[in-house]
Symmetry: C2
Subunit: 253 residues, 2 copies
């Protein structure tokens, strides 16, 4: 996605509402292609945009926090969101990543009053938000919205299911391989020497996705780098030979 909001990047409105002027700059076509809105006409899209609040979120900043009363739902226009659960004793687990074009923080649609996790910007993000009071209106007024939303929910359920199965049955090496494969599928960018994960990601992050330690992840990536399967820099991972990673992931069938 190539959003023309370069001006915002240099602007003074960091992490704040961007104001009406920006809202008008947002082209209707931005939403047209997104699944939840794909059946809507230009007028309807305009309606939706007119009541949306656009926000830019800096890397590392939270969109909302675990346990916070849910008053809004969000659409990620650009960037990547990391959804994190924190345990009582302070450990963190990354539940999933949101890629651009996806709704998130939809507690409203699932009968929740608080957010079950924290949403952190994994890189520079542009987000639209609406009050929860709009939710039922969206569902009622916009055909296909409901269906598409719950389709996404279904996909997330699936992904979580798969992770549970992985964690229950696979060794650490396979789990890490699975996570990398999932990441390049969801947020991969083609580069000359392979597929790169399109946002900053540390060994620590990967360990929080796989239920292991950053040390073990580091050892694995080092080994894989030696075998030419991946290439990695600080906060950056590129998979050069995905097929070999698939083998390691234990896709025995």
């Amino acid at each position: 996605m190539n959003l023309n909001y370069g001006k915002l990047k240099k602007g003074s409105l960091r992490c704040n509402n961007l104001g009406l002027d920006v809202l008008k700059n947002l082209d209707e076509s931005l939403l047209t292609n997104l699944p939840p809105f794909k059946n809507l006409n230009t007028v309807q899209i305009r309606e939706i945009l007119d009541i949306a609040t656009p926000v830019r979120i800096d890397l590392g900043k939270a969109v909302f926090d675990q346990g916070e009363v849910a008053q809004k739902f969000f659409l990620l226009l650009d960037g990547h969101i990391r959804v994190i659960k924190t345990t009582p004793d302070g450990e963190q687990v990354i539940a999933l990543h949101i890629t651009s074009g996806q709704l998130f923080g939809i507690a409203a649609g699932l009968g929740k009053t608080t957010y079950p996790a924290t949403a952190i910007a994994a890189d520079e993000c542009l987000v639209l938000s609406w009050s929860n009071t709009q939710w039922t209106k969206f569902i009622a007024a916009y055909p296909g919205f409901s269906t598409e939303v719950y389709k996404i929910v279904g996909e997330r359920l699936d992904e979580m299911n798969n992770r549970i199965v992985e964690m229950a049955t696979q060794q650490v090496e396979q789990r890490v391989a699975c996570v990398l494969l999932r990441l390049i599928t969801q947020a991969g960018k083609k580069v000359p020497d392979g597929v790169e994960i399109d946002f900053p990601i540390t060994r620590q992050n990967i360990s929080e996705m796989t239920g292991t330690t950053l040390h073990t992840v580091s050892r694995l990536l080092s080994a894989w780098e030696k075998s030419g399967i991946v290439a990695s820099k600080r906060s950056k991972v590129t998979v050069t030979q995905p097929h070999k990673l698939v083998l390691l992931s234990g896709a025995s069938a």
Copy 2:
């Protein structure tokens, strides 16, 4: 729940449609108290029952299989359903348990065409089913149905999230403790000496819920039995001192 279908148990129609006579025996009040139908009047409930197919499922029999094309959705009237995922190499993981009164197999509502897992009767079950073509009608015609359904979906998402966090951060002993606590919450029956899990459950089953082996579960239960925390027979577990189990589960906060 105390269903009067004793006659069926002795009947010859094992695992088959039960026929219209049975359908009429199902009292409207059965559905009235269930969340998805709680806002409906008697006439509406009657409509729903009239197009339902009731089925009795024997212990160990499948309601549907993983990968099967989803053509129906189900309501569990009585009994317990185990939802199982099987990996390519034959290992099994128990995703969750369905208790009576819950909808399941709702692939239709989540934009899926096949069932993502297998549903096995953990004990003697009585199930209603409807064709997927009814789904959108239910959503449209019955107020509150949609909301309640997605609330349940939200709860399952939550539960799965918690399991992921547990598997990622906790030791086996804590995970098994968590699972037992969850089971007595969801399907516990008060008995003189504690709370009993209301359906047959083996060490193997528990290991499939926690991502460990039946050996480890056996050792843990033996140890706990010595400390008087649980009492167990073949395929039966009773928690006698839940508070001690809570301590073991690592609820540090």
